[in-house]
Every structure is written in structure tokens, then in C-alpha cells.
């Protein structure tokens, strides 16, 4: 019997992914986080995800846009099980090969503790068999899921999704519910969901989701159409805003702190979104403008600023900082105006690093404090209050206001004259120029707007933290903002918000932790993987703007891709004649 092509392809891949996650210490580190107490930790979810996902992929086989997929449960289960079996075998071989040697000198994470977790604490002999059996079973489930009917598939995914959400957002949920008895019912003492509450959540998600699945389609149709729809839409937006206003009051300090970080990244994401998403200029040194905002505010407001210390009020400093940022935008923007695409990316990256290195150098230390930074930046005065990072439940509102301003600017810019010029420029610069768009002006406006929005974030950041150091402004920050924009959807305002919530909120920002502190060590690895995955599978982002996704996935493009994959002979001349 010959083994299916996709089983041969995905089985070893799944095994390698499992071994890799073990070798970098991910499984063991994630094992510390309970998801469903005491059965399932995040580590085992990570360990068993590859057989499930690749089992599903093997059962799916070849993707064909124009043909209905073949679905059958036993066939899928067999393929998935084989993937799981191969994956388990590969992982066991990896453990058996590494176990006899002491590799901890070179690979600190390949050690007995890793083997212990991987073998379910049962020792290498019995544990390996268990691992292979579990991996096979999970693979079979993944494969069978592909074969199942639409209702079952959606139900299973929805239930798993909600259980995971409740387990991951334990901190937020406990803050919101805040009634000890209920919290104790849902969550176990050592963290993680109780087994029964997990089952209840899964059942509820299945049942309610199934009931409202049809209604939701009806609802969104209604929202799209007619006058009643627009009233519905506005009321939904109203409810959303109300929720946003109430949320910070319900959750505690830690979550609010996190929300501030998320909001700051939404702010910067919105700024970068104008430059990258709308104008199509890949700026890898965006953090420089954030630094201008933060250092500008620090110098102007802190009484401890080394040379020049006017100790202004934050609100007075803000317009001055905005002017600085605009000048910085022009200074960075002008030299790169003639550059395209990749050169622009590297040069802006260079600018970002130059700014950081100069701030750090002995030369400018007398003005900006060098490695010591600038401390004692006062909070923001609002009436009788002084709001700073020590009162996150108030600071979050201030940040939200600036996010709203930035969102309004982006929204208005999108369909304005300059917004349309950006779109034209993004698609084809030469054509844009030919039809009379001043690309020089459009590019500079994009850089300056982006810079000013970043300076808002910088000003808020320095008032929140109270100190500025150069290490808050390295190239990593630029890249992470870029990932936020790309994951959410370039050119889309909702997308940026979603991207920041998911990435900064859950995984954590460059210097801050997210909800999952276990991810801290691996977040940049995950960021990299997400970036590659998105570019390969969904370059338009999770919530793309309509125009952008049309650019990337035209109907013809899909057809061409399909024909390519089929390997059919395409007569290009004939095609040209048709078009």
C-alpha cells in the first residue's frame, strides 16, 4: 500500500515541529500554565497542535478553488492518524537520539526535564509509547474533523475556541466577574479552567453558536442594507463605545496597564498604517518619531532635563513636540522621496538606528542624558488631577482619546484627496505621477502625519512611564508595530486595533508582557512566525480594507493561480486576445 502523498509530506513536518518546540524549551515553559486543571496545560496544547493541524491538512489534500472538496470521516481519520503516528515516531526518535548525551553545554533546553514533560512524566520507555499513541489519536481527530459536516466542524472549532479564550483570559474574566463564588466555580485554585466549567463553556458555545449562526447572517445583511440598517449600525457603534468606556472600570490595574500598552500600539499602528498601509512606503524606522515625541516631552516637561529644562505643562509641550515631529518627518522623508520599496525600508531603518545611537552617545549626553535617560517626567494635568502611570485606570481614558483622534484622522484621510493620491501612488507611482498627482507632496504628507501620530504616542508614553531611556526605542519596536499593522490588515483601521489587541495584549509588546507571561521568552519567535505565515497565506491581514484585498486577490489572480496549480498549458497569446 502506498502512503498518501500528503501524509508523507506533513507527517515528518509535524514531527519536526514538535521536536523543534521541545528543543527550544517551549513545551516545558508552556507546561507551567494550566488551561484546564488538572488535565491540560498550555504545553500539551502546543505539543499536540502540530499532529492535529497537519493531520487536518493531510486529510484535506489538494486544495482546488473550483471543485467541491471530498469529505469523508473515516478516510480523513486514517490519514490524520498516520500523520500523528509519523509525527510521534519522529519526536520519539529525536528524544532517543539526544537522551544518551549531555548536550546542555550547547543546547540548554535539551535535557531530562524536557524528556520528562514530553513523555508525560512516565519515563522514556512507557512515555514514548504514550506520546505516539496520543499523537496518533489527536492526528486522527484532526483528520476526521476535515471529513465532518459543516455544522459539526464549525461547532467543534467554536467550542474549542471559546474554551481557549476563557482559559487564556482568566485574568480579565476574573476581574470582570469579581464574585468569588462564581470565579471559584469557573477557575481552579491553581489557575486554569475547572474540568466541568470547560465542558459547560464548550456545550454553551456549541448550542448558542449553532442557534445564532443563521441569525447573524440575517443581522449583517440588515446592517448592510437600508435605513434601518444604518440606525442599527450606529447603535452597535454606540454600544461598542459604551463598552470601551465601562471596561477599564471593571478590570484591575494589571489589565488596565496592558490596555494602555495596547492603546499606545494602536496609536502607533494607526500612524504607521498611514505610511505603510495607505501610502505604501515601508518605513522600518518609525520608532524614531516615537522617540522624538518621548524625548521632546521629556526635555520640555521634566525639571531634571540635563541642559534645557523649561519644565512646561504636558499640554503646552504637546504642540511643540508635534512641530518637532513634523520637522523630523520632513527631514527623514525628503532624502528618501526618490527611493523605492526596499531601499526606502533599509534607509529608514538606518535613520531609526542613527537616532537611537545619537541619543545614547557621549556627544549628546549633556542634552538627553545618554544611558541615564531623563527621569521625573511629570504626569498629565487634567483639571485638578495629575494623571500618570501610577493611575492606569485614568490614564487609559486619556490614551483612548488620542486613539480616537488618530482613528478620526486616518478615517478622514482615507477618502480625502490626499488619501486617494496615496492609494494611487501605492498601486503605481509612475502612473500616479502621470495623471498629475504630486507624489513628493503626497509622500511628505504621509510621513508628517505618521510622525505626528507617533509623537502623540511618545508624549503619552513618557508621561506614563515617567522616564525615557534609549532602549525603549530600538529597531524591534518599529518591527513590532509593522507586524501589528500587517496582521490586522494594512490600510484598515479596525484591523490595526484587532492586531494590537491580539499581539500586544496576548503575546506582549517589545518591552512589556502580555496576558500570557509564559509567552515572554518566545514572543519574538512567534512574531516572526506570524509575519511569515501572514505573508504566505493572507497578505491582506485579518481585517483587510476592501480596496487592499482587491489589490492582492483579484478574481483573475485566483483563476490564474488555479490554472498554475493544475499545471495546465495556458496559451498566453490566446489569453491576451481575450482580455
Amino acid at each position: 500500500m502506498s502512503i498518501d502523498r500528503y501524509v508523507r509530506k506533513w507527517g515528518p513536518v509535524a514531527g519536526l515541529v514538535m521536536s523543534f518546540m521541545a528543543a527550544i524549551g517551549m513545551i516545558r515553559s508552556f507546561d507551567g500554565r494550566m488551561m484546564i486543571n488538572p488535565v491540560l496545560s498550555l504545553g500539551y496544547i502546543a505539543l499536540l497542535l502540530p499532529p492535529a493541524v497537519f493531520g487536518y491538512l493531510a486529510a484535506r489534500g489538494e486544495v482546488n478553488v473550483l471543485e467541491e472538496q471530498e469529505r469523508d470521516v473515516p478516510g480523513g481519520a486514517v490519514k490524520g492518524a498516520m500523520v500523528g503516528l509519523i509525527a510521534g515516531l519522529v519526536t520519539v526518535v529525536f528524544m532517543l537520539v539526544t537522551a544518551p548525551f549531555d548536550l546542555s553545554g550547547f543546547f540548554p533546553n535539551i535535557n531530562d526535564a524536557m524528556v520528562d514533560v514530553m513523555t508525560f512524566h512516565q519515563g522514556l520507555g512507557l512515555g514514548s509509547l504514550i506520546l505516539i499513541a496520543v499523537s496518533t489519536a489527536v492526528g486522527a481527530m484532526g483528520g476526521a474533523l476535515h471529513g465532518a459536516s459543516e455544522v459539526v466542524r464549525a461547532g467543534v472549532l467554536r467550542s474549542l475556541g471559546w474554551v481557549m479564550l476563557f482559559a487564556l483570559f482568566e485574568l480579565v474574566v476574573t476581574d470582570i466577574i469579581d464574585v468569588r463564588a462564581i470565579v471559584r466555580f469557573i477557575y481552579a485554585a491553581g489557575g486554569g479552567l475547572q474540568l466541568w466549567s470547560a465542558l459547560i463553556i464548550a456545550a454553551l458555545a456549541w448550542w448558542l453558536g449553532g442557534r445564532y449562526a443563521g441569525r447573524r447572517a440575517e443581522f449583517s445583511d440588515m446592517a448592510k442594507a437600508s435605513e434601518a440598517g444604518s440606525r442599527l449600525r450606529y447603535s452597535l457603534i454606540g454600544i461598542g463605545i459604551l463598552l470601551l468606556i465601562i471596561l477599564p472600570m471593571l478590570v484591575g490595574g494589571i489589565v488596565n496597564e496592558l490596555l494602555i500598552n495596547v492603546a499606545l500600539f494602536i496609536l502607533m499602528g494607526l500612524g504607521l498604517n498611514i505610511v505603510v498601509g495607505q501610502a505604501g512606503l515601508l518605513d522600518l524606522g518609525y520608532v524614531a518619531f516615537f522617540a522624538v515625541g518621548a524625548y521632546g516631552t521629556a526635555v520640555l516637561t521634566s525639571p531634571l532635563s540635563p541642559t534645557f529644562a523649561p519644565a512646561l505643562n504636558w499640554w503646552l509641550a504637546l504642540p511643540i513636540v508635534m512641530i518637532f515631529a513634523a520637522i523630523a518627518g520632513v527631514l527623514v522623508g525628503t532624502p528618501v522621496i526618490r527611493m523605492r520599496g526596499d531601499y526606502l525600508a533599509i534607509v529608514t531603518l538606518g535613520f531609526g538606528e542613527i537616532v537611537r545611537l545619537l541619543l545614547l552617545s557621549d556627544w549628546l549626553t549633556p542634552y538627553f542624558g545618554g544611558a541615564q535617560g531623563i527621569t521625573r517626567i511629570p504626569g498629565i494635568t487634567v483639571g485638578p488631577l495629575t494623571i500618570s502611570g501610577t493611575s492606569p485606570e485614568l490614564f487609559i481614558y486619556l490614551t483612548m482619546i488620542f486613539v480616537a483622534i488618530a482613528a478620526y484622522i486616518s478615517y478622514r484621510a482615507q477618502n480625502s484627496r490626499v488619501g486617494r493620491a496615496w492609494a494611487a501612488m501605492r498601486e503605481d507611482e509612475d502612473v500616479a505621477e502621470a495623471i498629475g498627482i504630486s507624489t513628493v507632496k503626497a509622500k511628505l504628507v504621509a510621513f508628517v502625519t505618521g510622525a505626528i501620530i507617533a509623537s502623540f504616542a511618545g508624549a503619552l508614553f513618557s508621561a506614563k512611564v515617567g522616564t525615557v531611556f534609549t532602549n525603549s526605542f530600538d529597531v524591534l519596536v518599529s518591527i513590532i508595530i509593522l507586524v501589528v499593522v500587517i496582521v490586522g490588515g494594512m490600510g484598515s483601521i479596525r484591523g490595526v486595533a484587532l492586531g494590537a489587541l491580539m499581539l500586544i495584549g496576548i503575546l506582549g509588546g517589545p518591552k512589556s508582557q502580555g496576558l500570557l507571561t509564559e509567552f515572554a521568552e518566545f514572543k519574538l519567535l512567534i512574531y516572526g512566525a506570524i509575519l511569515v505565515f501572514m505573508m504566505l497565506k493572507r497578505p491582506e491581514g485579518l481585517l483587510p480594507s476592501v480596496r487592499r484585498s482587491r489589490e492582492l486577490h483579484g478574481a483573475e489572480a485566483e483563476q490564474d493561480a488555479w490554472l498554475d496549480r493544475r499545471g495546465d498549458f495556458v496559451d498566453e497569446d490566446a489569453e491576451e486576445a481575450i482580455t
Binding site: 533546553n109 515601508l282 525600508a345 518566545f522
Partner: protein, 369 residues
Amino acid sequence: MSTDLAPEVAKPRRFKFNWVDSFLWFVRVAALIAITIGVVGSFQNFAAGEGPSATAWRDLIISSITTGSMYGLIALGYSMVYGVLGFINFAHGEVFMSGTMVGLISATMPFNNGFWDSSPFISIVVVLLVAMITSTLVAIVIERVAYRPLRGAPRLIPLITSIGVSFFVQYAFAGLFGVATRNYPPSPPGLAADLSIFGITLPISGTRALVIAVAVVSMIGLWYFVTKTKTGSAMRAVAEDKEIAGLMGIDVDKTIVTTFAVGGAMAGVAGLMWALLFRGVDFLTGFLPGIKAFTAAVLGGIGNLPGAMLGGVLLGLFEGVGPLLVLGGLGIPGVSQLKDAVAFAALVLVLIFRPTGLLGERLGSEDRV
């Protein structure tokens, strides 16, 4: 025969005066004036007997050239990939780092049992092979997994992908090897001493001489490979036009893999050089040299192989000698901290002064920088 991998398309120059141009001219003139004042200042200091001595200057220049030839080798990988695929492979610095990291294992084991000191030559060749093989494999895997599915995508998409790959590889190595900096064993005694030929002692250590020699040999070998062999011709043909090359019976995918493999191997050689010159490696080792090597490739004219090497050496000199010569002459304190800033400033200035690089040709409108 030309060694250019990038297509050459002539384009008439447009004469149009506007304020962007005048700003750029202002920057050019200001940069020239600043550099002149700095250099003159340094010479005055030197004449007055202040600042570094002549020997110190000489050593600085030699060490800059060795670092520069390492950049040049990494730059070859950037240049070839850019020539063939037309995008910046941001992850190339990580290809270099992977060779250095894995090479460390093959250096530490012979060092611990004394083999490193007793037969240094064999040990270094082993490290070189391990580094080259690792880097080549990493480069091939990256191409297969991340870049091949993106053939024909808009240009920024592979670039953003390569940033993701770069992060992934960095932190994969951080997970595998830990985040601590590890050190290669010290150069064998024969290499650490100053080089002497026929009894004349030259002011250059054996290690540095070896690095320069390896760089020159690799460069010549690569040049021979690209211009004289069949595979090399195929690479140049693919760089010129992928579709036509395919119609001429060239296996385009295979040729692109070869390009990545050769670039990876060169990065592996550079990895050994890093090990001999600086000894300390960690998972971030590839980041800065990667960006600088890209700068070197642009400086020499991207897509041009001798240009990459020349650009590397020049960039090494800029960042090694530049801070002291120009900034020191301007009276700026703590110039050695600004080494990286000077390298980046060099990139910006090169792209303002001569976007096509020193040996590059004028590129067509689609490839205009």
C-alpha cells in the same frame, strides 16, 4: 564578460529642478564640508602630535580592512539574491549567524581535547566546513519554505517575509543555544602572532592575514563560478529574465536554489572569519553585520559581485576609520560609540550621492531606487 546580475536598462535622465533636489544638494554639500573640516582637523591634530599615533592609525586601518572583507563576503549573498530575485533578503545576516553558532560546537570539542592547539589548520578547516554547510542548509530551507511560494508577489511582500524569517531564525537560535554570548577558543598560537614571511615580520596578525586571504580566494572562486561555469551563466540568465531563461531550458527553481546555496556558503565563510576575529557569538550576532553587509552591497552597486567586495572593504574603512578621522576631527567626544551610526549614515549618503553604487549601472525604472 560582465559580472552583473542585475538587468541593465538605459533610461533618459530627466532634468527638473525642484526643492527636493535643492534639499538633497544642500545635504550633499553639507556632508562634504563636514567631512572636509573633520579630516583637516584630524590632520592638524596629528601634526600637532595629539590623538592616535601613526602605529595606531595603521593598526586601525588594517583591522578595518579585515572586518570589511568579512562584510564583503556576507554582501555577496545579498547581492546575488538581489540580482536574481530582486528583493533584499533581510534574513541573510541570520544565515551568517547560524554558521557561526553551529561552527562553535565543532570548535569547542577539539579545543577541549587539545586537538585545536596541536593541529590548528585541520581544526579551522573543520569549523569552516561545518559553518559553510550549516549556512548553506539554512539558506536553502529558508528559500524553500518562505520565498518560493512568493515568486511573483509584489516586491514588498518577500521583503516583509524576510524580516519575519530573520526574527524567527534569531529567536529559534536563542531558544536552541540560549541567549548567553559564547566564546570561540582563542586563535591557535601560530595565528595569533604577527605574520612573518622570509624572516620579515609584518604588522598584521596571522589571523587577520588569513581572513583577508580567505576573502580574496573566495571572491576569485565565486567570480570564476559566476562567469566561467555553466551554472554561473544560468544564474546570470535567470537574473536577466526568468521567463526567457526558463524557455531556454534553464531550470529556474534549481538555479535560484543554487544562488541561495552559494550565498549561504559565502556567509558560512564569513562566519568563520567572525569567529577568528571577534570570538564572541550569540543569537543577535547576525543582525548588525547583516545590515552593514547590505550597506556594503549597495555601496558597491547591488547585483555586482566585485562591487560587493569593494563595498565591504570601503564600509569597513568608513566605520573603522571614519569616526576617528571625521568626527574626531570635528571635536565630537566618544567617537567609537558612533561606529554604527557612521555606517548607517554612510548608507544614507551613498544612496543620496550615487544610488546605483560605485560599480553599479543605472537601473531601469522598475528597479529605480
